[in-house]
């Protein structure tokens, strides 16, 4: 299992060059860039061809790999035209992934509107995903639905991805303490395991989520992919990154 850093909050104020430098220094093997938030890394749809080539070159020259782009695209809307906007935007992100050398794109299902039937909801989220999977065919970019918002529930995440029914669509497991309402985290992880492509951790020191249980499960599942720390913003970001890297190492190998 390889540790990477997500710039969702921790690291949001660092340039790409700084991020590549500090992640390498502290043993992170990958970097996932949160787009659409104006973060300093500058990996955004608005980047020019030349800038994309520079981003690709910066990763190619680094020991740190490009773990992915995390966008805000979400397919929760009951109005088809709003979903269409999101799907088209996600396609632009897929193109961008190809250009900068990112192997994965994170998208959201997000929140089910109260007035929408669950079956219908999962069907249209799945249809959006399927369209993205078809668009990404031949591109080597995987599109992963994050277990975020209402999709922390396994039946939502699995339901939408099964509705998509496309090998280019996977699940990003999100270490959400709310899962425990429905049973041990192992039950959620087992349910999504066939589609598991990526993981987001949060505050590793927070006992509300049983990270050691997660690590044991992942070892048993034979998961050898990336895991990304999405820790909260800090005024002492480099220090927090350093301690998290060490904490991950101790927790993972001793769980």
């Amino acid at each position: 299992m390889k540790l990477s850093l997500m710039t969702a909050s921790l690291g949001q104020d660092m340039t790409l060059a700084e991020l590549l430098s500090v992640t390498e220094k502290y043993g992170y093997e990958g970097l996932e860039c949160r787009a659409e938030k104006g973060h300093k890394h500058g990996v955004e749809l608005e980047t020019s061809r030349e800038q994309r080539a520079q981003i690709k070159a910066a990763f190619a020259d680094s020991a740190v790999s490009f773990a992915g782009i995390a966008c805000s695209c979400r397919f929760e809307y009951p109005e088809p035209e709003r979903r269409r906007e999101q799907v088209e935007r996600a396609k632009e992100f897929i193109d961008m992934c190809v250009e900068v050398g990112s192997p994965r794109l994170r998208v959201f299902g997000n929140y089910k509107p109260d007035a929408v039937d669950e079956g219908e909801f999962l069907e249209y989220v799945g249809a959006s995903l399927r369209e993205l999977g078809e668009y990404a065919e031949g591109s080597d970019v995987a599109v992963n639905l994050e277990m975020h918002g209402h999709f922390y529930r396994r039946r939502y995440a699995v339901g939408a991805v099964e509705a998509a029914d496309h090998e280019g669509i996977g699940i990003l497991y999100n270490c959400d303490p709310r899962e425990r309402e429905a049973g041990p985290v192992g039950e959620t992880l087992q349910a999504v395991a066939p589609y598991l492509r990526h993981l987001h951790f949060h505050h590793l020191e927070d006992p509300r989520y049983p990270y050691n249980e997660l690590f044991r499960m992942l070892k048993n599942l034979g998961y050898g992919g990336l895991v990304t720390v999405e820790g909260g913003q800090s005024d002492d970001a480099e220090r927090v990154m350093a301690i998290y890297a060490r904490l991950f190492e101790w927790m993972y190998w001793n769980s």
């Binding site: 590793l204 020191e205 909260g232 800090s234 005024d235 002492d236 220090r239 927090v240 350093a242 301690i243 998290y244 890297a245 060490r246 904490l247 101790w250 927790m251 001793n254």
Partner: protein, 255 residues
């Protein structure tokens, strides 16, 4: 072994109430107050009898213990009058410790003055410590020489404490990465073990010092006293304290 926090840098800007609350929240069993640097905790020689009683009451009401008082007193000077000043200041700290309920005071041998005879300096330090030990005899307060400055070398610290030859005089082991250029850290710890009363950890994520090895050795020795985290300052001190406590737990129990 019990984790405590030394306010040398991390925690220096917290008032005593905040320190006690944060230490209790994150699982630190003690606070060691660094004096003579105007830290916000306010535990100083200048505190009045009333203030001392208040400090003692706060610790009595808290699950967090007062692990000790760290002073700047040092006995390296070749000038007998200057050494006596430091001895007299240390005696005042012994009184303060007795008043506030601190079981130990930390002092330095420190650095050999340029051109000095090392044996003479070590003997001077030992004599100062003996005088302090005699003063502290019935106080319930130990005075511990830290393996700091040139006294990181176990030979100097051990010799000074042997010269002092008083049961109130012990050693603070200081996790100094310079040790590793000489030999395994066990060769430093084993000779000082009979006098080991306290430990200062630093940035435990830093691989320059083998903390895993330290924890194994201490467990084998049956050391159950405090180890104070004396980590670098942070603009995000509470967060860093929280993550360090978790990292310590994983490192200690899995070493």
């Amino acid at each position: 072994m019990k984790l405590s926090l030394l306010t040398f840098q991390l925690g220096k800007d917290f008032e005593l109430d905040e320190l006690l609350a944060l230490c209790a929240k994150y699982g630190y069993k003690g606070v060691e107050c660094r004096a003579q640097l105007d830290h916000k905790h306010g535990l100083e020689l200048e505190t009045t009898a009333d203030q001392r009683a208040t400090i003692k009451a706060k610790f009595d009401d808290s699950p967090v213990d007062l692990a000790g008082i760290s002073t700047s007193c040092r006995f390296e000077s070749l000038d007998a009058a200057e050494r006596q000043e430091h001895v007299d200041t240390t005696k005042k700290f012994i009184d303060l410790a007795a008043d506030v309920g601190a079981p130990r005071v930390r002092v330095f041998g420190n650095a050999f003055p340029e051109g000095s005879n090392k044996d003479q300096v070590v003997e001077n330090v030992g004599n100062c410590l003996r005088e302090i030990g005699q003063y502290a005899e019935d106080s319930g307060v130990d005075c511990n020489l830290e393996m700091h400055g040139d006294f990181y070398r176990w030979q100097y610290t051990l010799r000074a404490v042997e010269i002092a030859d008083h049961e109130r005089i012990g050693i603070v082991y200081n996790c100094d990465s310079r040790e590793t250029k000489w030999s395994p850290i066990s060769e430093f710890l084993t000779p000082v073990a009979p006098y080991l009363r306290h430990i200062h950890l630093h940035n435990i994520e830093d691989s320059k010092y083998p903390y895993g090895e330290l924890f194994r050795i201490l467990k084998n020795m049956g050391y159950h006293e405090f180890a104070s985290l004396e980590a670098g300052g942070s603009a995000d001190a509470e967060r860093v304290m929280g993550i360090y406590a978790r990292l310590f737990e994983w490192m200690y129990w899995n070493s």
